[in-house]
């Protein structure tokens, strides 16, 4: 809806001529003897504006509302719509890839493998930031990562948005060997102390 104020004489004739051109007015209100405020659509506005220019009458757009206002804004700032579309496309493409790989160790036990080593393992499997989500099968990744090292008792992988969450738990076997080493060390210490 476009609201415009038209000033001049013989305004009824102007409205009549605009109606003959197919214009439609939602509302016409007098604003003094020489002015009317007209609510119309784009077609009516064009017809009135053309007549006003032809007969040298003053007109001004008071306000625009609704889809018409949106259309005029889009016309005035024509880069806005392509910009929004481009943004949407880029956002879609952006969300189709994995941009972060988070690794967490799910155990209180001392970890033999560092995060950097896990990242290297993932990189050797082709899992790097920027890869496409569709190229990643988390089930296969879990199996591959488990097979890659015996250090893990559990490997979990899931995709959350643009993040790949890898959860690893250190192997229990390694813990046992560490314990036996500790025991052996302590028994040697005892033997040494008794010999003294």
């Amino acid at each position: 809806m476009i609201r415009l104020r038209v000033k001049g004489l013989m305004l009824e004739r102007l409205l009549d001529r605009a109606l003959e051109k197919g214009a439609r007015f939602r509302s016409v209100a007098r604003e003094g003897p020489r002015a009317v405020v007209v609510d119309t659509d784009e077609h009516g506005f064009r017809a009135l504006a053309e007549l006003c220019e032809r007969f040298s009458m003053q007109y001004e757009v008071v306000e625009t509302r609704g889809p018409e206002a949106l259309r005029r804004l889009a016309k005035r700032r024509w880069t806005l719509l392509p910009g929004i579309l481009l943004c949407a496309v880029l956002l879609f493409l952006y969300t189709q890839r994995i941009w972060r790989i988070d690794i967490s160790f799910e155990s209180d036990r001392p970890v033999e493998v560092t995060e950097a080593e896990v990242r290297e393992m993932l990189a050797s499997l082709g899992v790097v930031p920027g890869m496409e989500k569709r190229d990643l099968d988390t089930d296969v990744l879990m199996l591959d990562l488990s097979a890659k090292s015996e250090e893990f008792s559990f490997v979990g992988a899931r995709v959350k948005g643009v993040r790949l969450l890898v959860e690893v738990a250190p192997s229990l076997r390694r813990r046992r060997s560490t314990t036996s080493t500790t025991r052996a060390t302590s028994s040697q210490a005892r033997t040494a102390s008794s010999s003294r």
């Binding site: 305004l11 009824e12 409205l15 009549d16 109606l19 003959e20 197919g22 439609r24 007015f25 939602r26 509302s27 016409v28 209100a29 007098r30 003897p33 009317v36």
Partner: protein
């Protein structure tokens, strides 16, 4: 050929030709005027529209025109009276 007289009950059918001006009033605040042929005068106190048989006037206060089309419009406001054009015989 015998000249048949139209029954009195069908007299209203004349109106279906679509050439007669038609005014539909909703209370005293709104009047739909159909089949007009143009706006002759518009002020908050008087709306004068051209009809095939003259000019139809709507008198009142704070009158506004709504939904103005080429052949129909609504006069809104405090309508005091509607003056029909006198049909010429």
């Amino acid at each position: 050929m015998r000249n048949r007289k139209r029954p009195e009950q069908l007299a209203w059918l004349e109106d279906l030709s679509g050439r007669e001006v038609r005014v539909t009033a909703v209370g005293a605040g709104r009047a739909l005027i159909e089949n007009h042929t143009g706006i002759l005068e518009y002020s908050p106190a008087r709306v004068l529209v051209r009809c095939p048989k003259g000019a139809l006037a709507v008198n009142g206060r704070e009158l506004q025109l709504r939904e103005v089309r080429r052949d129909a419009l609504i006069v809104a406001g405090a309508i005091d009276s509607v003056e029909f054009p006198h049909d010429s015989p």
